[in-house]
Amino acid sequence: MKHTGAEILMRSLLQEKVEVIFGYPGGANMPIYDALYFYEKKLRHILVRHEQGAAHAAEGYARVTGKPGVCLVTSGPGATNLVTGIADAMMDSVPIVCVTGQVAAEFLGSDAFQETDVIGVTTPITKWNRQLTHADEIPEAVAKAFYIASHGRPGPVVIDITKNTQFEKAEFNYPKNFYIKKLKTVNKFNNGDIEKAAEIINNAKKPLMLVGHGVLISKAEKEVLKVIEKTGMVAASTLHGLSSIPFDHPLYVGMLGMHGNYSPNKLTNSADVLFAVGMRFDDRVTSKLSEYAPHAKVIHIDIDESEHHKNIHAHVPLVGNVKDVLKKLTPLLKKNNHVNWLNEFKDMDKKELAVEKNKQIKNKNKLTMDVVLSLLSKKTKNEAIIVADVGQNQMFAARYYKYKNPDSYITSGGLGTMGFAVPAAIGAKIGAPKRLVFAVVGDGGIQMTIQEFGTIMQEKLPIKILLLNNEYLGMVRQWQQLFFEKRYSFTHMESPDFIKLARSYNISGEKVVERNKLDSALDKFINFNGPYLLEVKVEKEDNIFPMVATGTSVDEVRLE
């Protein structure tokens, strides 16, 4: 029996066990939406308010479930609105499958109404993309899209389906046990390399593990703990590695990078071995490359071969899935401990703590982001999912919430996309309905995707939005203060009454302007049954420290 292309797409998505689609209709995907009408029970559709929101929601969903998130948008502006989200997913290795409508094949290249060269526009920001002009191409393309998005290093894919294809009829034959050879064999490390790595680790005096997003993607949290506990190796995390090691683990020393903790930045340059596990030596982590870890032998696990030696030369590159590599490696590691080395970190932590204490005394009755996030952490028993936006709020959320369970800190790291948090929190809540989900966002970022309040309203999603309002594009203002002699060029921002705005979307809320109201406001916020906006008027000119300034070495990290 023959089916329309639109119907074939529905069946293909069901074959891939898709449960949720984030989308927005328009002329060029109307036949698909018409088919969706009959699949409403099997395929939950979330109508976003802007296509960028669909992409970030799909990312949020993917980050908590490990399954590809799906977006469905129309041609032209629908597709171009998706672009920021696709680029974001590419930078952060998030599996999303985007289906875009396209003008009918006969009009391709004629500048038809709402025609955009979607393949052209998305090629540099996708792992793979394909335009379909016949209905019988759909099943294999969908199978391929999902396989590619989720195998090897995950990433975004686009399927661009011309309108005639959606109407055209064909048989539905879904490929069975589909695979792509190139992505199937991800483990290319050999035993010799594993032995070399083990020998380096076994002889190390000052070994430091750097955990990244790859640990969470490959669900290798337990394997990581086994390695550090057996060897006594000290471990630090990248922004995206946060929550892979519980905050209170005795060998965990905090976050790396520009706004990471003091000790792991400072002591990177004393380490004799760096064991990089599923991370890519981003410039926000390494800062000045020529002065990065000069004494260290580097062992680098990455599933993506092109990451080895890209920024940092690896003495032992190990190509493979983090979990598989660690399983092979652990038996060869000797039981050891590095108490003195660990104590070097603890001593430095004291310096950071002292500065923090001083700040707290100085700000005793003031509202600052660190206070808000520390309290939120305590009151939620460190168990919530924090979806952070970009800016100071993102860094305070990274540093002051104490992450206990995996996949609990979700943010836009590689692209640094303001506006990520609210829609990504929608996807995260839908993917993990039983967990408490907080969007942490600034007064600037919230206004980039604030229309998604409508989605929250319509879907009645009990998302908690923590707005940290400093009346500034705070992170840029901080740089202006530190590096541009306080010339606050266009970083002050006047904003609407967010509480009223939320209320008009049926989202309850409260605004806190005094420190002594924070506790009770947080309690209400956390326990409220339904969507809620808590706005906290924080200190306007507070800064996030430590900081490794651009162009300086990690060991020049500033405490204040």
Binding site: I119, P124, K127, K182, S306, H309
Partner: protein, 80 residues
């Protein structure tokens, strides 16, 4: 240094565009390029020559190899 890169790929639309994009990203200008399909087995060969910094050539070639359709890739220095 001048390098020639030899690529064997599935003959699918967009592969050349992806390769060109990876070069554009690094502001590399192609000096010579040749591409053709092999018989009728759906395979293409692409060769290009360009000035590429020694420091990045290996990474660039591995990035090209990440293109799903690319089957094989080799590169060598062009001697004068």
């Amino acid at each position: 240094m001048k390098y020639t890169v030899d690529i064997v790929t599935e003959n699918k639309p967009g592969v050349l565009y992806r390769i060109a994009g990876l070069l554009t990203k690094r502001k590399i200008n192609i000096e010579r390029i040749n591409a053709y399909t092999v018989k009728n087995n759906g395979i293409s060969k692409i060769f290009f020559t360009a000035e590429i910094e020694d420091r990045i050539v290996d990474t660039l070639v591995k990035q090209i190899y990440k293109i799903i359709e690319v089957i094989e890739i080799k590169y060598h220095k062009v001697s004068h």
